[in-house]
Symmetry: C2
Subunit: 191 residues, 2 copies
């Protein structure tokens, strides 16, 4: 089995328990691999395993979200309706990735542990920046001025992250769904 086989299990674990909360025993159980095998595939140990999970999340962004936005941003002059469709597709993919709100966000979990934030800050920061910029670009291609477009990109991240936390806190996932449903219109407001 190749290294990549086990990365989804790593993503699941670090998402669920955070960096400090994940133990090699848990990883061993989840992957079915002994510790020695884990160190064969990830010589850097726990830190490299977490980084692999993080890369998997950033990979999702790059290969499942950005294409939706970037393919559209290249051509100028979208109608408002076309923009809303694009953002709807983005939200659907986001909803799928977070399993309707049941999955929590690896980026958020690692950021809130200051200890792991130090190790992974670069990749986390890059993920958010990339996503925000992609949203801003498509809004600017539809005529929105840059500062507002950037704010809208930030608003998207804020809404998604906040809704994930609220949903987990209340064990109730309607609010996450509502946010994703309302987000496309909110982003396009004023176009």
């Amino acid at each position: 089995m190749s290294k990549e086989t086990y990365v989804p299990a790593l993503l699941k674990l670090f998402r669920q328990f955070g960096y400090e909360g994940v133990t090699l025993t848990k990883i061993s159980q989840e992957t079915g691999l002994g510790k020695a095998s884990l160190y064969h595939h990830f010589p850097g140990g726990k830190a490299e395993m977490a980084e692999a999970a993080l890369n998997q999340a950033n990979q999702w962004l790059e290969s499942s979200v950005l294409p939706i936005l970037m393919g559209a941003a290249s051509q100028e002059g979208h109608s408002k309706a076309a923009l809303i469709n694009i953002f709807q597709a983005m939200c659907e993919e986001t909803n799928r990735f977070f399993d309707g709100g049941h999955n929590s966000c690896l980026w958020a979990g690692l950021v809130l542990e200051q200890s792991s934030d130090a190790l992974f800050h670069a990749q986390i920061s890059e993920a958010f920046s990339t996503w925000i910029e992609a949203i801003a670009k498509i809004l600017m291609s539809a005529g929105m001025d840059e500062p507002l477009a950037r704010q809208r990109g930030e608003d998207a991240m804020i809404s998604i992250q906040g809704a994930l936390i609220l949903s987990h806190s209340l064990h109730e996932f309607e609010s996450f769904q509502r946010v994703l449903n309302e987000l496309p219109k909110r982003l396009c407001e004023g176009i």
Copy 2:
């Protein structure tokens, strides 16, 4: 020294590192107390210390936030401007508590670790519910219908939590300030 003396230090630590990230050694250093002494004040061990920190956060909500909203909700018929002033006061207190976005949220941190969520879910859930309901009540007293008022309460939590995560991820705190500045008007929209 009494037990309450050390609770602020506990709040600071569990906020910063999460439940699994905090060690008794760190607590000992931060409080200046030996490990054994900690067990004199908190016989329940680490779990009781985290619960004390959680109670401190919930206490802040009850004694510093709810009075702003509840004193106002009792009398009927606020003008929109009066409502905005009240929510502005709420946001200022929130900004103070989170030190301009530099502090992260204990509730969010514990929720994202599934292990600790199991232990503390009741208190976290209650905190969010209480805050949401207080916002909804004051909006309803100004004539807003209940489902929308509840949604606005949820939106406030979502914005605050999301902005905290984004600010920590980007090491940039303007977005947190912007959210708090815009929140009062957003909550009152449509009144």
